[in-house]
């Protein structure tokens, strides 16, 4: 079983539209939406939830007003400025428990924190593991790890060949969590200076963790000078640019219809995404 994670650094470059299309094209796979902050893949795949559960992660400090003597030690010692006026701001609390350890009268208890929900769903293209991080919650990296674990369990149980993960934007905690142990990272970028800058950083993350990377330039014809710049950069880095997808309004039209673009149109975008999947499988099998 092989896992490919689709990343971009910059948001909005087309990761989810491409993963949604892979869902149609790829045989023998399970899908994983690792963008647990702002999951969108379900909007293309119309999933039916088969299993779900709570995601409890971390703790949050709570001060017992009856016991608190207002000595102020907790406020002074909290490195996250999470305690003001003898109250804990749960959105700032990092759950370290230091305050609870040092409170002279034992007035601070640590409560388990419900941070989100996970789902295992069936779609007409196969299973989808996804999740919903609670608003303003931490530990998105751990929820990403849980989503990938659910996807892997399904793939093993059914003997499926591929796990296709839709990754989060950025380079931080949830990105690192979605990359670890994957076989390939497919970078979807766009020919803008922001896209190039962010691509370079996320390629750096892949290199840091030793994950093979390949690049797809989406909407490549919006600025062909920048497209060439990306190709030159990748050449210098020894990373293959395996696909150039043209800009086409059919991608947004398909999205509005709630279907993957390869089912909506038989045009150039669709044939290019088909070729891209072939390149991904060749790399995964190599």
């Amino acid at each position: 079983m092989k896992e490919v994670v689709v990343l971009s650094g910059k948001g909005g470059t087309g990761k989810t539209s491409i993963v949604g299309s892979f869902a149609v094209i790829a045989p023998s796979k399970v899908l994983a939406d690792c963008d647990v902050d702002a999951a969108d893949l379900h909007l293309l795949l119309s999933p039916t939830v088969r299993e779900e559960g709570e995601f409890w992660s971390g703790q949050v400090a709570v001060i017992d007003k009856e016991k608190c003597t207002r000595c102020g030690l907790c406020q002074k010692m909290c490195r996250f400025d999470a305690i003001k006026d003898f109250r804990v701001d749960p959105t700032s609390c990092e759950g370290c428990g230091f305050c609870s350890q040092i409170c002279p009268v034992g007035a601070i208890i640590m409560e388990e924190n419900l941070s989100g929900r996970w789902f295992l769903s069936e779609t007409r293209y196969g299973f989808l593991a996804h999740a919903r991080l609670g608003i303003a919650q931490e530990n998105s990296g751990k929820l990403v790890a849980l989503v990938r674990q659910k996807a892997r369990a399904v793939a093993e149980r059914l003997g499926l060949g591929y796990i296709i993960s839709d990754g989060p934007p950025g380079i931080g905690c949830p990105v690192i969590s979605s990359l670890s142990g994957a076989h390939l990272a497919l970078m979807v970028t766009e020919p803008t200076l922001s896209g190039i800058h962010d691509l370079e950083r996320v390629i750096g993350v892949c290199r840091h963790f030793g994950i093979a990377a390949m690049v797809c330039i989406n909407k490549y014809d919006l600025n062909e000078d920048n497209t060439r710049q990306i190709e030159d950069y990748c050449l210098g880095q020894g990373i293959s640019v395996v696909s150039r997808i043209p800009f086409d309004n059919v991608v947004t039209e398909a999205l509005v219809q709630g279907v993957p673009v390869v089912e909506y149109s038989q045009g150039r975008v669709t044939s290019e995404i088909n070729r891209l999947w072939q390149a991904v499988t060749r790399s995964l099998e190599a």
Binding site: S92, Q101, Q137, G141, P174, S194, N226
Partner: protein, 284 residues
């Protein structure tokens, strides 16, 4: 006034809005731009600031003096992140898991744990076209963005206008970046993804009790559901930006919209008046 520019979904135009708003306001008064998208900071591409100072961002991680340590295991017991472990006569520290809370060092009965700074990013300060510019950069390979964001926000100011470029999403880095703002602009696009993530972003700012308004970008493709949602939720749409190849071309080349198409300057000044109006209407 502190205005944060957020979105939920990435790639909707936060950077475009934040840079053009700051540039338009720079002609009228004091303005400071804080790029808190420390995983992928992009404002510098558009503003090309002169950086005059850079400050490393460190978090305090434990350093154990094994001469004093008696391997009692208290540090491992109090660490909520499993960043320190005691195995027989050995203490193992995992700095990349450490949040720097200081519990192990403070609670060590033998006073055997000191703290040392581990560099995870940098804050850079400078100026560009009348804008005080501050950005944070998380180093590649590092996981924890919030400490870098906190450090950028130390340079927030009550004087003039502060524009904060917020990372995408709804989790801890976003909360860190938005917290303390007087108003939050939510930039979205008229598609089902844009709507889905706008709803999440609205929940986030409401959780933080920050008034918000919407900038609708790339109008012309997609559907009208974002507008319907805003109407229903009584969220003002303060600016609309059409899907336009000239705007996309400016963006792709790193040219701020108000410089590439100066007619937009007045629209961003109007946006600012609208924000003030919406903030006042709410406070009544």
């Amino acid at each position: 006034m502190i205005i944060s520019v957020a979105s939920g979904k990435g790639g909707t135009g936060k950077t475009l809005v934040a840079t053009s708003l700051a540039l338009s306001l720079a002609a009228t008064g004091k303005v400071r731009l804080l790029d808190c998208d420390v995983e992928e900071p992009n404002d510098h591409i558009f503003l090309k600031p002169t950086i005059t100072r850079s400050e490393p961002v460190t978090i305090s991680v434990p350093r154990v003096d094994e001469g004093k340590c008696n391997y009692c295991g208290k540090c491992a017991e109090v660490c909520a992140y499993n960043a320190i472990a005691v195995i027989k006569k050995k203490v193992l520290v995992f700095p990349e898991l450490c949040h720097g809370c200081g519990a192990c060092s403070y609670l060590c009965p033998e006073d055997a744990i000191a703290e040392e700074g581990r560099e995870i990013g940098v804050v850079e300060l400078g100026y560009s076209d009348g804008i005080d510019f501050v950005q944070g950069r998380l180093y590649v390979g590092e996981a924890m963005a919030p400490p870098v964001i906190r450090k950028v926000k130390d340079y927030s100011s009550r004087e003039g206008t502060v524009v904060i470029d917020v990372p995408p999403g709804t989790s801890c880095p976003v909360v860190e970046a938005i917290g303390g703002s007087d108003f939050c602009l939510l930039v979205t696009e008229p598609t089902p993804f844009g709507l889905n993530d706008l709803v999440l972003a609205v929940e986030t700012v409401r959780e933080l009790h920050i008034p918000c308004g919407v900038v609708l970008n790339r109008v012309g493709v997609g559907d009208r559901k974002v507008e319907e949602y805003c109407l229903k939720e009584n969220i003002p749409i303060l600016l609309t930006i059409p899907l336009d190849t000239e705007i996309a071309r400016c963006y792709s080349r790193g040219i701020p919209l108000v410089e590439g198409m100066p007619e937009w300057r007045q629209r961003f000044l109007n946006l600012f008046s609208n924000i003030r109006g919406a903030a006042v209407a709410r406070s009544r």
